[in-house]
Symmetry: C2
Subunit: 210 residues, 2 copies
Amino acid sequence: MFSNFNIQNFIYNFSCNCQKVQKKTFSKNQVITTYIQKRNQLCILLSGHADLVRYDLNGNRTIVEHFSKNDLFGEVFYKVTTNNELLVEAKSSCTVLFYIYDEIKSPCSKGCKFHDTLAEHLPELILDKITELNTRIELLTQRTTRDKLLMYFSLISTRKLSKTFELPMSLTDLADYLSVDRSAMMRELKLLKEDNLVDKIGNRIILLYK
Amino acid sequence: MFSNFNIQNFIYNFSCNCQKVQKKTFSKNQVITTYIQKRNQLCILLSGHADLVRYDLNGNRTIVEHFSKNDLFGEVFYKVTTNNELLVEAKSSCTVLFYIYDEIKSPCSKGCKFHDTLAEHLPELILDKITELNTRIELLTQRTTRDKLLMYFSLISTRKLSKTFELPMSLTDLADYLSVDRSAMMRELKLLKEDNLVDKIGNRIILLYK
DNA sequence: AATAATATGTGACTTATGCAACAGAAAAAA
DNA sequence: TTTTTTCTGTTGCATAAGTCACATATTATT
């Protein structure tokens, strides 16, 4: 995912003098963080699964992003502009590395290698984030639930290098991720099966088209 | 829009030795650029209006982004991942500054001030882009056409600091931007008028709610 | 192991949205 | 100016998608 920069090596070899790095663990359904204005928090998901979730005034829940191991999140990647609540929820037990910035690009005054390396590689990391966001926009601009499902499956299939895969989230969550009604999505999945485009055993998907 | 960095001063005072900057003009409906893989092009719209447009296999057109004066675009902000065609179309006469990078973060070997300043401020510029993308995602995750319209109007209203404003694009384009059918959108606009939430005289919108 | 909680799967019904088609207004081109 | 093109506004109809409600399966919790 990350262009040239190996985030994994980086995370496991970091050293920090500035006391601004914290590692915390969370259990399922706990709120990992809420996004607020003017805070520059950067988080790395070391293990587990988590979602960036928004609740709107109508009670609709939207999964804005879905995070897996080594994914980065935090206000650094999401300047808060509207007043809808944004929070990151643990979908399973999670370990998270928290990092608070004063200034994004300036080097750390304490000579902290972690901070400096991160600042150096931030442009690449942000560009990767942009790619994800653009993909998400492409997904959301699909006009029908069917097209959203097919595109989503195609993305996962490409990522997993296989036409058969387990969904990385529950079907309930997938509906909130695609921004469609769950039961309507289930109906469409049934139609996709009937049309022999997709097979489905529980949460395992098998793409049948070439 | 741009955090600390004044893009306007920057553009009008640039100097460049590396011959990689070009200024071009376009007339309405001309294709300014197409997005392709592995090219690092950065463009600045000096005047006019333009759209980043995607055409899918079903013939649907989606306006991915709408650009006005001083907006930045190009592959730097959009790594091409899918094989859908992406192009920037002039909506009126446009002047565009083109810039080709070899490496995004490295300083210019020719000591080109333009290049260096841009590289220095790229993180901020990209973060601003992220904000736009996130706003766009929030717009697209609105479940109904009504909610999309209301949120879009609210965004423009905030930007223009007025409850009355001219739409920055045609209604036909707005439908492609919100990813909904044009006639269905027109119908919803009529319903918004009937419900006294919005008034509309041609392409001028007046928000009536507090 | 028993209970509770959450997720999946489905159907009947309503509503929102897309589609096609057209007329008039506005804008662009000749 | 006149002509052509594009945009706006509207309708009838078909269909996709949301709502509600419930049964069953699966997964946590006690």
